[in-house]
Chain length 365, copies 2
C-alpha cells in the first residue's frame, strides 16, 4: 500500500470509490461527497495528509461527518457549508481552533466530506479513521474503546440550526443525536470526538485514507483492464468472495433515523447454497445462507460489488435484478476484542449469533 | 392585589396553589415544586422578588423551567440540581452570570421550580412571566411576540446530560427540544430565553408572581372559611363559572412529548347543556357543549376546580367521578393580538373555531 501524502482533485475518484467499498453498503453516496471535495479543492488547494507520526501531541483533531440514513442523504444534499458550520461551532464552544480534520468512518460520503471541509478550512487531514469501515452508530468507533468522549459534539443542518451535545457517555450521544437527526429531516452534519493529537494517535485506526486510495486505484485499474476487481482485491486484502448471484428481493424501511432491511440474492448457478440473505442497518451486518448459517457477520466487512464491473453497491442503490458479488473482509483486529464486540458484534444489533471471524466461517462450513 | 417583595418558606403554599390555578390543568404538579422551593429556601434564605421597574436594563435575566408531559413529570421527580445545572451550563455558554431568575409560565411546577433555583443560586426572581398562564409549547411566550430568541437554550436531565440549542427561530427550538425531552424520558430541565433587563421589561407579562400569591391566598382563605373560592375568584379576576358537573370520561395519551386527550363532564342538574367536553394538550384548550358550541377557548384560561373545595385540578389528576367547577378567565390582552393568536389561538392547535373572547361566548350564547 502506498502512503498518500496529499489529496489533489484527481485523487478524489479513487478515494470515493475506495470509501464506498469500505463503507460496506453504508457511509453514503460517494458521488455527492466526491463533488463537494473536488469543488473545495479547486476553490482552495490540495489537502495535506498527516500520517500518525506527523501529528503533534497537543494539537486539536476534529472529526466531521454526515449523520443520518443514507436513503435520506441521497435526497437531502448538503448545501456545502453546514459541515464547516459544525466545525466552527465546535471550535467556538471549545475556544480553540482545530489543527487537523479526521474521518470518523470509511464510506462514500464520510471519507469525502471531511476532505471538502479540510480543503475549505485550509487544514490537513489525518491518515486514519475511527472504524476502518462504516458502522451505523456514533459510539461505534475505536475512540470509544480508548475512552475518548464523543462530546462536546455539534450538529448542524442546512437551515442554520446548531446544537451542542454534552452527554454522560457515547451511547447517550448516539441516542440524542439520532432523534435530533430525525428532527433535522433525516440527516445532519456533525463535528464530534474532539481529540488531542496524543489521544488521536492512541485511539485511531491508522492509514485508512491510504488504504482507501489504494483500493480505489485497484478497482479503477482492474475496471480499465476489463477485469472484475474482486480477485485482485481478494489477493491484496485477504478478502473472500462469499457468493455470486442476482438480487431478487429488497426490503427496506427508514426507521428511527436508520435505513434498515434485508436483501435476498439468488445464486446464478445450481450451487449448494442457492440463496444468500444480507441484513443491514445502513451497513451490511450479516450474510446468511438459506439454512440460517452465517457466512460473515459484523464487525467483519460485507461488501457488495457489481458482478460485471466490480463497482461497490450501497444498500440504497441495491435493486431487483442487480448481478452482484458478495465480498467479505476481516475487520481491524481491535474490533475482535471483547470491548470491540460489545460495541459492534452481532448481538449488539439483536442477532442471536455469537461472533465468529469470517476466516473461521468460510473455512469450516 | 398586593405586590409580593420576598418569598419566604411560608409563602410557598399560596404560590403553589395560585400557580396550579393559572396552570389551567397543566404546568405540572404543584406539590413537588413546592417541596423543592421550600427545601431550597430553608437551606439558603428567602428569595427577593424584583418588580419590573427594579430591573437593571443591562442585567441578565434567565428563565428556568421543567419541560415535558405533566403525566411524566409526576413519575420522574427532579433530583433537585438539574435545574441549577441547566442554569450553570447556560451561564458558561454565554460567558456571563445571571442577575435574576424568571418564570417562563404560571403553573404548579413552573411557578415553583424557578423559586427553588433562585434560592439555591442566591438570586432574586422577577415578578412576571412569559405566559400569564401555562401553554404547552416553548415558543408560546410573550418574548416571541417581542422577538426575543429562545436560544441559546440549555436542556439537562437527571443523568447529567446537557445540550445547548441554537436554532433559527423559536418554533424550531420547540421542535428540537421536544424530541430531546422525549429522549430524556419525557421530561427535562431547561434554561432559555436569556434576556437583558431591558428586553425582559419590554417582553414580559408583569406582576404574575404577585397575582399567583394573591390567588393562592384567596383559595386558601375561602377554603378555611368553608366557602368554595370560585365566587370570590370570579369577582376578583373577572372570571366566569362556566359549568358544574361530574367527570364521566377521561381519554388521555402521552404522545410526542405531550399529554393529549379530552374529558367529558356531565351536568349535575337537568341543565340545557348536559355535557361539557374539555380538550387538552398539557393544558385545557377548549370547552365545548354537546352541540359543539365553544364556551371558552385558548388563549383564554380554562381552569378546573374541585366542586367542594375549590382546589385546582390538573389534567393528569382528573379522574372519573370528580365533581368539578369549570372556571374561565380572560387571558392577558397581548394574547388577543394577531401575533398572539397566531401563536396560541385555537387554529394553531388544529381546532376549526376562530378565536372569540370568553366574554363574547358567554354573553351571546
Amino acid at each position: 500500500m502506498d502512503r498518500i501524502t496529499q489529496i489533489a482533485r484527481k485523487d478524489m475518484i479513487d478515494i470515493a470509490l475506495g470509501g464506498a467499498f469500505l463503507g460496506t453498503g453504508g457511509g453514503g453516496d460517494p458521488y455527492i461527497g466526491r463533488l463537494m471535495a473536488e469543488q473545495a479543492i479547486t476553490a482552495n488547494r490540495p489537502v495535506d495528509v498527516l500520517a500518525a507520526d506527523q501529528i503533534d501531541d497537543d494539537s486539536l483533531i476534529v472529526p466531521v461527518a454526515m449523520m443520518g440514513a443514507p436513503t435520506v442523504m441521497l435526497e437531502k444534499l448538503p448545501r456545502g457549508d453546514e459541515a464547516i458550520a459544525a466545525l466552527r461551532a465546535l471550535e467556538a464552544f471549545l475556544g480553540r481552533k482545530a489543527s487537523a480534520i479526521f474521518c470518523i468512518e470509511a464510506g462514500g460520503l464520510n471519507s469525502t466530506i471531511p476532505i471538502a471541509v479540510a480543503a475549505a478550512a485550509g487544514l490537513p487531514i489525518v491518515d486514519g479513521d475511527g472504524m476502518g469501515r462504516a458502522f451505523p452508530e456514533l459510539q461505534m468507533v475505536s475512540m470509544t474503546m480508548y475512552d475518548v468522549h464523543a462530546c462536546p459534539m455539534v450538529m448542524s443542518d442546512e437551515k442554520g440550526n446548531a446544537l451542542v451535545l454534552n452527554t454522560v457517555d457515547n451511547l447517550s450521544t448516539e441516542k440524542f443525536a439520532r432523534v435530533i437527526t430525525v428532527e433535522m429531516g433525516g440527516a445532519g452534519m456533525i463535528a464530534l470526538y474532539p481529540m488531542t493529537g496524543a489521544e488521536a494517535k492512541r485511539a485511531m485506526l491508522r492509514d485508512s485514507l491510504s488504504l482507501i486510495a489504494t483500493i480505489g486505484r485497484v478497482i479503477r485499474s482492474e475496471q480499465a483492464a476489463n477485469r472484475n476487481p474482486a480477485d485482485r482485491l481478494a489477493a491484496d486484502l485477504d478478502g473472500i468472495r462469499l457468493f455470486e448471484g442476482r438480487v431478487t428481493d429488497v426490503e427496506r424501511r427508514t426507521e428511527g433515523g436508520f435505513a434498515r432491511g434485508q436483501a435476498k440474492i439468488e445464486g446464478l448457478n445450481d450451487d449448494v447454497d442457492q440463496t444468500l440473505t444480507l441484513k443491514f442497518q445502513n451497513e451490511f451486518l450479516i450474510a446468511e445462507t438459506s439454512d440460517g448459517r452465517p457466512l460473515a457477520m459484523t464487525p467483519d466487512l460485507i461488501c457488495l460489488l457489481d458482478l460485471d464491473t466490480g463497482q461497490p453497491i450501497t444498500t440504497e442503490q441495491m435493486a431487483y435484478g442487480y448481478r452482484v458479488i458478495v465480498f467479505g473482509l476481516p475487520c481491524d483486529p481491535k474490533w475482535r476484542s471483547e470491548h470491540g464486540l460489545e460495541l459492534v458484534g452481532p448481538q449488539y444489533f439483536g442477532y442471536e449469533h455469537s461472533y465468529q471471524p469470517i476466516e473461521t466461517l468460510t473455512t469450516n462450513p
